[in-house]
């Protein structure tokens, strides 16, 4: 039971009008000026460095934090660094109403937990989720709670495939478990 829970403090990626920012692309998540960096540990400092109002995210984020993004999160190029920079900061998960198709694949393959939550916009508009809140998500059932507000919500439960890759620590490691079981 314990094992299928993810919990942490959230950062809600809103603009200056308090709305969830949609279509955050991979260039805003990880600017192309830093593509030459190959060490994952060095990528965290540039996470969201090109997203207006969130340039200082890497200084504020703590390991275990959860990112709440808008529709079509991670649109654009196939750059893996846009996933790796969050792994570098040891974020616990990213939740958004929808993701760019390649971004979602890259995140699953790298064992960054990503969840789709169709009603997220409404939760944020109604003030049910704000930066600094603590949430818990059961990734098997999709049941979530904003702990400090006692507000319950749902995300799409993680598929067996995604969970398998997550538990193995990424797609390459997952392959290594295939023949040994």
């Amino acid at each position: 039971m314990e094992k299928s829970m993810i919990s942490g403090r959230i950062w809600v990626l809103t603009n200056n009008r308090g709305e969830l920012i949609e279509d955050i692309d991979t260039d805003q998540i990880y600017h192309n000026a830093h593509l030459h960096i190959t060490e994952i540990s060095e990528m965290g400092q540039y996470a969201l460095g090109n997203l207006k109002g969130w340039e200082d995210f890497s200084q504020k984020a703590q390991p275990g934090d959860i990112l709440i993004g808008g529709r079509n999160f991670g649109a654009g190029s196939s750059r893996q660094q846009a996933v790796d920079c969050f792994l570098s900061l040891r974020l616990a998960a990213v939740i958004a109403p929808s993701f760019g198709a390649i971004y979602f694949r890259n995140a699953v393959n790298s064992a960054l937990p990503v969840f789709k939550c169709p009603d997220l916009k409404e939760y944020v508009e109604k003030g049910k989720m704000e930066s600094g809140d603590r949430i818990e998500v059961n990734y098997r059932t999709g049941e979530g709670t904003v702990v400090n507000k006692r507000f319950d919500f749902f995300v799409e439960p993680m598929s067996d495939v995604q969970e398998g890759i997550l538990r193995a620590g990424g797609l390459f490691n997952y392959e290594k478990t295939l023949n040994t079981t």
Binding site: S78, Q80, A101, I102, R105, N106, V108, N109, S110, S159, D160, V161, Q162, I165, L171, F172, Y174, E175, L178
Partner: protein
């Protein structure tokens, strides 16, 4: 409830029930890497799995098509990295002489109805033209596919598009495709599989179906199918000698997430203007635009039928002096058919430049780029800024490209 084409294919290649939104493990009939992406696949593979063998070398391929023969040092090095790995593993390489990888897979019968294929080519979903499930993916996924023979995939929803009306020369498959793109934009089919119905698509030749399915990528769709596409003619069997093609139908009662109808009665030649494939207008609105160069080829319009259409326009005519018309057959087999049928001679006589097969003209490959201010009319699939150099690219059918290069401005085949 019945299954759509993609649901049927994924069902037969995975365990458990297949339904939209579900993530399944898909058994792959083919996994391929090209000279872009391929070297990363090799590096990942060797880092993660050392000297372990690929899952099945008979189902694993390299296809070199982007820079053939290599015209930059980087491509030369990258192709060598792949060749060495292939030799060690016993993997077949369709090398720089063969042509565009996706087309080779069809000609060789490796991609055929009901099969599953992945590779490092973002237009690999073109194989929907032969009712084959196929996806372009990144090097992590393809490395895993080489090693395990599988890939995970979220079963997409399917959309049904009904075409009303028939198309007639000078409108061709490309004009139909551009017309569909204009209607669909990049939103309607996003992340969906599309099934196309109606006489206009069902009567298309395989080359025409390839044209339509190749631009599913530009609609941001997963893949497109023409379930009632006709069987191959004897001419087509010469062009695709190893392909056995019989249509793969959706089941009765299949569920579609959306349905739409597009009227293509009286369709005339269409052109996509810079810098989006979905910004489509009629040729008649663009006739005062001068062109500096033309290109016929790419995975979208590089088949025999495409060059025949160009030859029909160019026969006994000349490319206007000062204008450069570049022709790149999709594959060596296309090249051979053009030679045998005397089409190459007509094209040569017109003053066009004919190069060896591959992605040149679309990718930054072996037949050059455009310069600042250059206006090029092209049969490719993308006209994004900077894609083929600094020039402005208009997308059109082979017949319109040929006519425009005779006239020196955008023109319909009827204008020459």
């Amino acid at each position: 409830m019945g299954k759509t084409v993609i649901e049927k294919i994924l069902q037969s290649h995975s365990e458990g029930r297949t339904e939209p939104g579900k993530i399944v493990w898909v058994d792959l009939d083919v996994r391929s890497a090209r000279d872009f992406g391929g070297p990363n696949v090799v590096k990942n593979f060797q880092r993660e799995y050392g000297d372990a063998p690929v899952a099945d070398k008979e189902k694993t391929f390299f296809t070199f098509d982007l820079s053939v023969p290599a015209c930059t040092r980087k491509y030369a090095e990258n192709q060598q990295i792949c060749r060495k790995f292939a030799r060690k593993q016993g993997i077949k390489v369709f090398d720089v002489d063969k042509g565009i990888g996706s087309h080779i897979l069809m000609e060789e019968g490796l991609a055929s109805p009901g099969k599953t294929v992945v590779g490092t080519d973002s237009h690999l979903n073109i194989l929907g033209a032969v009712n084959c499930f196929s996806q372009g993916m990144g090097d992590v996924d393809i490395t895993f596919a080489f090693k395990s023979g599988k890939i995970w995939f979220e079963v997409p929803e399917t959309m049904k598009v009904q075409l009303e009306g028939q198309i007639r020369w000078p409108a061709t498959a490309k004009d139909l495709t551009l017309c569909i793109l204009k209607h669909m934009g990049t939103q309607k089919a996003a992340l969906k599989a599309v099934e196309f119905y109606g006489e206009a698509v069902e009567n298309l030749s395989l080359a025409g179906r390839i044209t339509l399915c190749s631009m599913e990528t530009e609609m941001a769709g997963i893949t497109g199918f023409i379930p009632r596409g006709k069987r191959l003619s004897s001419e087509e069997r010469k062009e695709f000698p190893r392909l056995s093609f019989s249509p793969l139908h959706a089941e009765r009662g299949a569920h579609y997430s959306d349905e739409c109808t597009i009227d293509v009665h009286n369709l005339n030649p269409q052109v996509a203007v810079p810098f989006s494939p979905t910004r489509v207008q009629s040729v008649s609105e663009l006739k005062n635009i001068h062109v500096d160069s033309g290109f016929i080829g790419s995975c979208t319009n590089g088949r025999v039928e495409d060059f025949k259409a160009a030859a029909q326009v160019l026969k006994g005519r000349k490319v206007k002096p000062g204008i450069m018309l570049k022709l790149v057959p999709a594959t060596r087999r296309v090249y051979e058919r053009l030679l045998q049928e005397g089409i190459l001679e007509i094209l040569f006589e017109s003053g066009a430049i004919v190069s060896n097969p591959g992605c040149g003209g679309c990718a930054e490959g072996h037949i050059g780029l455009t310069g600042s201010g250059e206006v090029q009319i092209s049969t490719g699939n993308r006209n994004f800024a900077g894609k083929q150099g600094r020039g402005e690219i208009y997308l059109a059918s082979p017949a319109v490209v040929a006519a425009s290069c005779v006239k020196g401005r955008i023109a319909s085949p009827e204008d020459v």
